[in-house]
C-alpha cells in the first residue's frame, strides 16, 4: 500500500472518481456488447447449442426407457440364466400392445442397434398382439415368433435399461456391453472402427506432410519471385482452389485409373508392361493423392502470407556474414516461416480428418475414413447416437491435439497472414 494515499480521489461533485468513471464507461461497454450480440447469438445457435446437443445425444438413452418403463423395471429382477418369467413377458406384451405405433416404431430402431432383428420382431409382434386377449402370454408370444424364446434378444435389453449410456462410445471403438453391462470386445468380423480411426489419422498426417513438402517450395517461390511471375504462379494455385471439389475429384479418376492417362503414358513409353499397370485409384493411395491436391492451397496460402513478411534483408545479412546458403536458410529463413508452417499444418490436418466426399468417391476398398461411417449411420441406420459419439471423439482428439500443440509451439505462433 502506498502510504501517501489518504483516501479515494473524488471528483468535483464528491463522487469517487472510480465510480464516476465506471458510470461513463458503462455506456460504451453496453454499446460494445450490443455490437457483438448478433455474433454471440449466431455462435450460440449455430455452434454451441448443436455441439451441446450432439454431446448429449452420444450418451442419451432415455427414449427407450420411456417406452418400456415397466418392462425394464421387471427386467432388472431377471437372473439371465433361463428364459424370463411369465411376469416379464406379460409386462412386455402390454407395453407393446398398448404403446402408440410411433413410439414403438422409434423404439424398434433403437433396439435393433443392440441386436439385429429386434426391428422386425417388434413390428410383427405389435401387429399380431392385437389378437391375443388373455394369458398366459409367454407361450402365445413364442408361437407368434420363436425369437421370443431366444435368450440373445432378452440379453440385448440389458444394455438399454439405463437412461444414460456409454454404449455408443464403446461401439465407436469396437467394444460393447454384454447383458450384465460388462464391457467386452465387439465380434471380430465387426471390428471396423479402430481400424478406421487409425487409417483416418494416418491419411490425415500423410496428407498434411505431403502438402507441406509440396507447398513449402511453391510458397517460397511465390513470396520471392518478381511480381510478374509470382502473380502467374498465384493464379495456378488459386484456379484449382476455385474449381469445384467434385470436378477435381473426377478429374483425378480419369488421370489415375488403370486405363487412365497416367498409366497409359507409362505403358506407351514402355516404362511398365501393359499387365503391370499401377493400381492408383479406388484405394488408400488414391485418397491420399487426391486429398493432397485438394488441400494444397490451404497449406500454400498461410505459408505464402507469412513468407511475404520475411524481409529478404535477413537472408542477405546471413549470407553476407559468411553463412552458406543452406545454413542461412536453416538458421534464418525457416525459423521465421514456422508460424506459417504451423498454421498450414493445422488447417490441412483439421480439414483432412473430417473429410468425407473424396474418400467416398475414390477410396474404394480401403480408402474410406471415419467421416464415411458417420455419414452412413446418419443417413441409413439413423443411429445418431453412434454418429454423435464418433463426432465427439473426433472433437475430443482435435482438442487434445490443439492443447499439445499449444504447449509445444504456443498458439500465439500461429499466423494466417
Amino acid at each position: 500500500m502506498n502510504e501517501t494515499t489518504v483516501g479515494p480521489i473524488l471528483t468535483s461533485d464528491g463522487i469517487p472518481l472510480k465510480v464516476s468513471l465506471q458510470k461513463s464507461e458503462r455506456k460504451n461497454k453496453i454499446r460494445a456488447f450490443l455490437l457483438v450480440v448478433p455474433l454471440l447469438f449466431f455462435i450460440l445457435f449455430t455452434f454451441l447449442i448443436p455441439i451441446g446437443d450432439m454431446l448429449l445425444r452420444s450418451v442419451d438413452d432415455s427414449y427407450i426407457n420411456t417406452v418400456f418403463p415397466k418392462t425394464f423395471e421387471e427386467y432388472k429382477k431377471w437372473d439371465k440364466q433361463d428364459l424370463p418369467s411369465e411376469e416379464l413377458y406379460k409386462t412386455m406384451f402390454f407395453e407393446i400392445k398398448e404403446g402408440s405405433g410411433y413410439s414403438i416404431g422409434k423404439a424398434t430402431t433403437r433396439m435393433n442397434y443392440a441386436k439385429s432383428g429386434w426391428k422386425s420382431l417388434l413390428k410383427k409382434s405389435k401387429r399380431k398382439f392385437k389378437k391375443i386377449e388373455d394369458g398366459p402370454y409367454k407361450e402365445q408370444m413364442i408361437v407368434i415368433d420363436k425369437r421370443w424364446a431366444d435368450m440373445e434378444y432378452w440379453k440385448a435389453i440389458g444394455v438399454m435399461v439405463d437412461p444414460t449410456t456409454a454404449g455408443y462410445y464403446l461401439n465407436a471403438i469396437d467394444l460393447k456391453y454384454n447383458a450384465d453391462k460388462e464391457i467386452i470386445r465387439q465380434k471380430e468380423n465387426r471390428r471396423i472402427y479402430i481400424k478406421t480411426w487409425i487409417k483416418t489419422f494416418k491419411v490425415s498426417v500423410l496428407v498434411m506432410f505431403f502438402c507441406l513438402i509440396l507447398g513449402y517450395p511453391i510458397s517460397y517461390l511465390l513470396a520471392t519471385l518478381p511480381l510478374k511471375y509470382s502473380n502467374l504462379l498465384m493464379i495456378c494455385v488459386l484456379l484449382p482452389f476455385w474449381t469445384s471439389l467434385l470436378v477435381r475429384t473426377v478429374a483425378w479418376m480419369v488421370m489415375l485409373q488403370q486405363k487412365g492417362v497416367f498409366n497409359n503414358l507409362l505403358v506407351m513409353s514402355h516404362i511398365i508392361a501393359d499387365e503391370n499397370r499401377f493400381q492408383l485409384m479406388y484405394n488408400q493411395t488414391a485418397t491420399i493423392i487426391v486429398m493432397t491436391q485438394i488441400l494444397l492451397p490451404f497449406m500454400v496460402l498461410p505459408l505464402y502470407s507469412v513468407m511475404k513478411t520475411i524481409s529478404p534483408n535477413y537472408m542477405r545479412a546471413a549470407l553476407n556474414l559468411g553463412a552458406s546458403p543452406l545454413h542461412a536458410f536453416y538458421k534464418v529463413y525457416m525459423p521465421n516461416s514456422i508460424p506459417g508452417v504451423s498454421a498450414g499444418c493445422m488447417l490441412v490436418f483439421i480439414l483432412a480428418i473430417g473429410y468425407y466426399i473424396t474418400p467416398e468417391l475414390v477410396g474404394g476398398k480401403d480408402g474410406q475414413m471415419i467421416g464415411n461411417w458417420i455419414a452412413y449411420h446418419l443417413k441409413t441406420t439413423l443411429n445418431w447416437g453412434l454418429c454423435a459419439a464418433l463426432g465427439a471423439i473426433l472433437l475430443g482428439v482435435l482438442t487434445v491435439l490443439y492443447w499439445v500443440y499449444n504447449k509445444l509451439v504456443g498458439i500465439e505462433n500461429i499466423k494466417l497472414g
Binding site: 449455430t46 455452434f47 448443436p50 405405433g101 430402431t109 468417391l361 441409413t380
Partner: protein
C-alpha cells in the same frame, strides 16, 4: 454431424423467414435420367391436368437423415420424397411419413407394399453386365460365372455397400434365388456369402456412384460389373453400347413415394402421389427409362403398347430391358427390405471389414 448442424441451422433460419409459398409441392428424388423420367411422366402430366399446381423438383442422395432432421426441427420443406423400401419401413414406423390411402392399387401390385405410408413406383435391379467385345469366345451367362475368375479372367466392378453383394454371392455359390434370404438368416449363410466374395477379392474394383460401373466396363478397367439395370439399359438404348445383361441372380429393389409428415402442402402432396402411382402414369415412365412398374396393369399397358420406349429416330421394345420381365422374375432375387432393415448395420460393418482387409 455436419448434416445435423446444418439441418438445425437451416431449420432456425427457415423458421425466422417463413416466406415459402404455400401451394408449391417440393418433390425430392435421386436426379439424373431417373428424375428426368419422373419429371416427364408424373410432374409434367400433373401440371397439365392442374395448371395452378407448381412442383419444384430437388435432388438428394438417399437416406432418412435430412428428413428426420426436418421433422425433428419442426420445419419440413420437402413434401414428396422418392425412397428405398427399407427407408420406407423405418420412416413409416418412426412417424416421419404420412399414412396414405392404398385401396386404389393394393390389389394391383407385383409384391405387397412395404408399409402403410407408400405409393408404388418401380422395381429397379442390381444387375451384372459386360461388354460383348470383352468376351470374344465363350460368354458369361450365370451368376456363378461372375464369381469364376478362372473361366472368365478379368476384374469385376462391385459397389461399396453390402446390399445385393451378399445375395449375388449366394446365388453364385449355388443357392436358389428364392431361398437366398432363408440362407442369409443363418449366421453360416452370411459366412458362406463372404467366403464366396473372398474368391474374387483380388479382382474387385469398388464403385459408389451409379455412373461409375458403366465407365469401368466401357474403358475396359473391368470386364464385368454390377450396375443399376436402368443405367445399363440407357447405355444400350440411347448410346448404342454393345452391353449384355446377366439376368441370373439379379436383385430386384423397390422404390416408393412418401409424403413427409408435417409438410405445409400435405393435401396437394397426397394428390400428386395418387397421380404419380396410377397404372397409366407408371407405364408412361417406362417410355423414358427401363425400370419396371410395380403395378401389374402397367406392365399390361406396356406390353400392348410396344414398341414403347421413345428414342430419337425410332421406338424400341422395352420389355427385354425390364427387370420385371416374366423370364427375369423367374431367376431374380426379390430384395427383402425387412431383412435389411434388421441386419443392414451389422452386415455393412462386416462388409467394411471385409473390404479393408
Amino acid at each position: 454431424m455436419f448434416k445435423l448442424l446444418k439441418a438445425s441451422f437451416l431449420g432456425l433460419i427457415a423458421m425466422a423467414f417463413t416466406a415459402t409459398s404455400y401451394a408449391d409441392i417440393t418433390f425430392v428424388s435421386w436426379g439424373g435420367a431417373y428424375t428426368a423420367s419422373q419429371q416427364k411422366a408424373y410432374v409434367d402430366t400433373y401440371v397439365s391436368l392442374n395448371p395452378d399446381a407448381k412442383i419444384t423438383v430437388e435432388n438428394y442422395n438417399g437416406g432418412l437423415g435430412e428428413i428426420k432432421a426436418q421433422v425433428e426441427a419442426g420445419n419440413v420443406t420437402w413434401d414428396v420424397v422418392d425412397v428405398l423400401p427399407d427407408q420406407a419401413i423405418t420412416g413409416c414406423d418412426e412417424g416421419l411419413f404420412e399414412k396414405v390411402d392404398q385401396s386404389s392399387f393394393i390389389n394391383d401390385m407385383v409384391v405387397p407394399p412395404v408399409s402403410d405410408c407408400v405409393v408404388p413406383q418401380i422395381f429397379w435391379a442390381y444387375t451384372v453386365f459386360y461388354d460383348k467385345a470383352a468376351f470374344p469366345g465363350k460368354k458369361p451367362k450365370k451368376m456363378k460365372d461372375f464369381f469364376d475368375t478362372k473361366k472368365f479372367p478379368g476384374k469385376r466392378g462391385i459397389h461399396t455397400w453390402a446390399q445385393a453383394n451378399i445375395e449375388m454371392a449366394l446365388v453364385g455359390d449355388g443357392v436358389k434365388a428364392k431361398d437366398v434370404y432363408e440362407v442369409m438368416s443363418t449366421p453360416e449363410g452370411i459366412d458362406r456369402a463372404f467366403a464366396k466374395l473372398d474368391t474374387i477379392k483380388n479382382d474387385v474394383v469398388f464403385w459408389s456412384a451409379g455412373s461409375k460401373p458403366l465407365e469401368l466396363v466401357s474403358s475396359g478397367e473391368v470386364v464385368m460389373a454390377i450396375a443399376y439395370n436402368g443405367r445399363i439399359g440407357a447405355a444400350i438404348l440411347s448410346e448404342g453400347k454393345d452391353f449384355e445383361y446377366i439376368w441370373d441372380g439379379t436383385v430386384l429393389e423397390q422404390e416408393y413415394l412418401v409424403a413427409i409428415k408435417g409438410g405445409k402442402n400435405t393435401a396437394e402432396a397426397l394428390d400428386f402421389m395418387a397421380h404419380a402411382s396410377t397404372a397409366t402414369a407408371l407405364a408412361e415412365q417406362a417410355k423414358y427409362i427401363p425400370y419396371g412398374p410395380m403395378r401389374k396393369s402397367s406392365i399390361d399397358i406396356i406390353k400392348k403398347g410396344e414398341p414403347w420406349f421413345i428414342k430419337y429416330g425410332g421406338d424400341i421394345d422395352i420389355m427385354p430391358h425390364m427387370p420385371t420381365h416374366p423370364k427375369v422374375l423367374k431367376k431374380a432375387v426379390i430384395g427383402n427390405p425387412v431383412w435389411w432393415a434388421d441386419n443392414g448395420a451389422e452386415v455393412n460393418e462386416r462388409f467394411g471389414v471385409w473390404k479393408g482387409n
